[in-house]
């Protein structure tokens, strides 16, 4: 075979390989979305749609819509708390010499490696002992626990030495410490802060285990979907799943935009 033919074969094979990988990742989601548009009562082939009747059914279901609102609230508030705490700890580690700094930084990011099930169970035991009832608040606290390390890691990685002089300049011009933070550090760090916020929202938005363990009557959308699934598959679950996926996509796009937005030199 001539070298150019070999190159062509290699290109075709690697193309097929890429298609296979992306297919493996996205086919389940594609099927989910496709059968959410099913016109008949079972999400199984043949495809009978497209129809939006199951989306209408989802929006008419007050349990699902109120769970959706709950999820958005928990995601937004817990992410705001996580990103605030993450920012403050990143700033502290970056600007001050702390005893055992490396160890403490390791400890703060450790929850990233612990399974949500363990964190959820731990919080369940702790809240039982402390008398905190199962609620959206409890789930929100759980989401702060899992997202704070993430926000910390993102913001800390973007907090370079070149901002030190900018903060110094603000202090030099008479700014008290809280104004330095609010008027200078936060705006300069805004891309990383928003990136942390949107990634936290993404994770909180479709988090199931912790919400399942820590909520009771009012609950979040993933838990409500699980309740729905217990009564068997129907296109409504596909429709609500597609909605969850769509919101996640939007959040991830925001995250990417924030993190990849390069500041002009």
């Amino acid at each position: 075979m001539r070298p150019s033919t070999v190159a062509k074969v290699i290109r075709i094979v690697s193309g097929l390989y890429a298609v296979a990988i992306y297919g493996f990742i996205f086919l389940p989601v594609g099927v989910l979305v496709l059968f959410s548009l099913q016109a008949t009562s079972f999400p199984i082939p043949p495809f009978t749609g497209p129809s939006l009747r199951w989306y209408d059914a989802v929006l008419a279901d007050t349990r699902l819509t109120s769970a959706l609102v709950n999820s958005l609230l928990v995601a937004a508030l817990s992410s705001a708390v996580a990103v605030t705490l993450g920012f403050l700890s990143a700033w502290g580690f970056a600007r001050f010499t702390l005893p055992g700094s490396a160890l403490l930084r390791g400890l703060i990011t450790l929850p990233l490696t612990v399974s949500y099930l363990i964190i959820g169970m731990g919080l369940l035991v702790l809240f039982n002992w402390a008398g905190v009832p199962k609620s959206l608040l409890a789930a929100g606290i759980g989401h702060v626990v899992i997202n704070l390390p993430l926000c910390f890691a993102i913001i800390y990685s973007q907090m370079g030495d070149h901002q030190i002089n900018i903060e110094r300049a603000a202090r030099d011009l008479g700014a008290p410490e809280w104004k330095v933070l609010l008027l200078v550090t936060v705006p300069v760090m805004a891309p990383a802060i928003f990136a942390g916020f949107f990634l936290s929202m993404t994770f909180s938005w479709d988090e199931f285990v912790i919400s399942f363990l820590l909520t009771r009557f009012d609950t979040t959308l993933p838990v409500e979907i699980w309740n729905l699934l217990r009564s068997g598959l129907n296109p409504k679950t596909n429709a609500v799943g597609s909605l969850v996926f769509a919101v996640s996509i939007v959040l991830v796009v925001f995250f990417e935009l924030m993190l990849l937005r390069r500041k002009p030199a």
């Binding site: 070149h162 002089n165 900018i166 110094r168 300049a169 603000a170 202090r171 030099d172 011009l173 008479g174 700014a175 008290p176 104004k179 200078v184 705006p187 300069v188 805004a190 500041k263 002009p264 030199a265």
Partner: protein, 354 residues
Amino acid sequence: MTAPLVDIRAVSHRFGQQTVLKNVSLQIEPGSYTILLGPSGSGKTTLLSILGGFVTPSEGKVLIRGEDCTTVPPAKRPTTTVFQDYALFPHMSVGGNVGFGLRMQGVDAATRAARAREALALVGLAAAFDKKPHQLSGGQRQRVALARALVVEPAVLLLDEPLGALDLKLRRQMQDELKAIQKRVGTAFIHVTHDQEEAMALADHCVVMNDGRIEDEGPPERVYARPATRFSATFMGESTLISGAVTEAKDGTITVATQTGSFSLPGTLPAGMAVALAVRPEHLVLGAAGGAIRLGTAKVSDVVFQGSFKRVLAASENDPALHFIARVPAAAVVQPGDIVAVSCDAGDVILLTG
């Protein structure tokens, strides 16, 4: 006698085990342009940080306008700093940057804008008010940093290698402007640099630092013509240094013996003292018809044409450790390998004991 504007009293500073400032005392007069000149690691930047309040000295005091400011934080000091990297606020407009200090003082927005425009006009950037820092060139950012620091009317303006990041041509141009602005506003400037040309061009008062100490201070003309130590003779301009010892001293004349001959010079040092003779390049005469101090012959090792003159390096034939640095007219005929007689006038010899 009026009190000095800034009075640095016996300041020492250590970073861990390393002592970076050793018992430094310095006084700054109102309205003066002071240059702290020294190589990296000489402690000049640390001294500036201590003045700005970013570093609290391990020992000693800093008085500004007669008040003890040693532990006063930067925000509450009558000093402002122009940082080496300018440290402009990237998310604010140029006007916002310049107005920041006034905003912290609680000045209302309209007054703030007016004064920021004035300060920008002072540095020749009146048109940049609404731009963002990243839209400006390095030289323009430098001016914004200067305007931002000056608009709050500090008692002392501190400049940390302000021209370090600019190319040579722009540096010389900004240098002239800095001096002009300083004269116009009348604020005392303290400027750190390692560039001796910058120091000579700008300073009213030049402070030469080395290894945590002040080696020499005074008007740049004096520091150049009569350096106090070997270090300042070689750092502030070039010098040929000849080591020797005093062998005889009487009636205000001393005899100094060196490897390349004995010379009678005016002076009152005791016999037996080790000294060095320093001669500026422009004072060395190459060739037969020279000055009274005959420094022997030397073999020319290098000739560098520098436009208006030639810089000649020559190794002494009497003392292998002695290297002459001379400056001769551009038209002079001299080539590497030539053997030349070297001499100078007694009045041009700088006697160094340090």
